[in-house]
């Protein structure tokens, strides 16, 4: 059996989760600080990938990064990077697509912390950054962990966006979900079955392990 689709999916989900951790933590922190109009608009934008059909997102990414005009053309001419039909392109798409899964839980968790904790830290002379890292973050660990697990699982299952901008290139953009779809379309139900079971088992084990590990303070993703 060709393992490359599985490996591609795992690689994509892992890189996306790590990137989103770096992007999502500061973003969630900034969003949690207040309720200005800018914040509300930004939060709505971040939530869009949750409600937009993935093919819509994929379609607009296709147009936005076409190497014939705009940003896509600039990237192609200057750096020889193409964000459609490439693995880096899938990473970018996945980061956008799974962004709400990382930012949402972390922002909620931060908002639930008493404001007096950060305030106490400031009066002790600690900067906002130090306060965030040493006082706030250690107390939302389980939410961060849950957010990472949900982001990972969500990216593994990504299909509509990848179908639009992946180009189904074996070893590069033919991730497991596309490989399964391909196999079904070509009536190779054996392969479809194998990939599906593998993906299901893998994701199930990860999510279950995460929840057991988090048992004391685990929050169901539906909360």
């Amino acid at each position: 059996m060709d393992w490359s689709p599985i490996w591609l999916s795992v690689k994509l989900a892992s890189i996306t989760t790590l990137l989103l951790l770096l992007i999502g933590l500061p973003l969630a922190y900034w969003l949690s600080k207040g309720r200005s109009v800018i914040r509300l608009v930004l939060e709505a934008l971040i939530t869009m990938p949750l409600v937009l059909p993935p093919s819509v997102l994929g379609f607009y990414l296709l147009l936005a990064f076409s190497p014939q005009h705009g940003v896509g053309k600039w990237l192609h001419d200057t750096f020889n990077i193409q964000l459609v039909f490439s693995f880096p392109g899938l990473i970018l798409a996945s980061v956008i697509y799974s962004l709400p899964f990382m930012v949402g839980p972390i922002k909620s968790a931060l908002q639930q912390l008493p404001a007096s904790w950060a305030q106490a830290s400031y009066t002790m002379g600690k900067s906002e950054q130090e306060t965030f890292l040493k006082v706030l973050l250690p107390n939302i660990r389980s939410s961060v962990f849950t957010a990472m697990v949900m982001t990972f699982a969500h990216t593994i299952g990504e299909f509509g966006v990848v179908l639009m901008i992946g180009g189904n290139i074996p070893g590069q953009t033919k991730v497991a979900s596309i490989a399964i779809y391909d196999a079904v379309e070509g009536m190779d139900y054996g392969t479809a079955n194998n990939y599906s079971l593998l993906l299901f088992a893998f994701t199930f084990v990860i999510v279950t392990t995460a929840f057991i590990f988090n048992r004391n303070k685990a929050k169901s993703p539906l909360e």
């Binding site: 106490a120 009066t123 002790m124 002379g125 040493k134 250690p138």
Partner: protein, 206 residues
Amino acid sequence: MIAIDIHKKLKVGARETDLNVKLQADKGSLTVIHGPSGAGKSTFLKVIAGLMKPEQGTIIVNDQVWLDTSNNINLSPQERRAGFVFQNYALFPHMTVRQQLAFATNDTKWIDRSIAIGQLQDHADHKPDYLSGGQQQRLAILRAMANKPSLLLMDEPFSALDQTTKVGLIADFKVLWNELLTTVIIVSHYPQELAGIATQELYIGA
């Protein structure tokens, strides 16, 4: 010498009221603030600490200008470093007693002394949820004192303590405050408990 003069708009539910407070206190003095709930006592403390900004006002602490709205001076809470004891203690759940104090200061001798004053030797490596209400309150006060601030602000700091503990603790801290020449401002619903050591009283009403 502390000189405070501030005007802040307060929102209590749907009502908007004005908070106007003038306060002068000598270095090393102890001021007790009392008054009805919702009048703005806690807000007043937060304004002094730099955690909230008034519409108008000046705050001068020992010849340092902390706030002067007409001249656009507004030091951050980090720059002011006023010791603050919150009503809900604001203890960090993930740090032990020793770690909380170490977060505020590097002075290990002082940390050891603080732990002794608070009678927390047996719990130095325990996290706050292990401590009783009274122990938590002592820790909150000690943490606020940890970096030897020149101004100490306390929002109902003795509410969880029984009478005997309270009297003993106040006496212990008074020694410390005299030693460090800390200027103290305490919000309390029971100003009588501090009658013996308070230099002045301030009433903030609705």
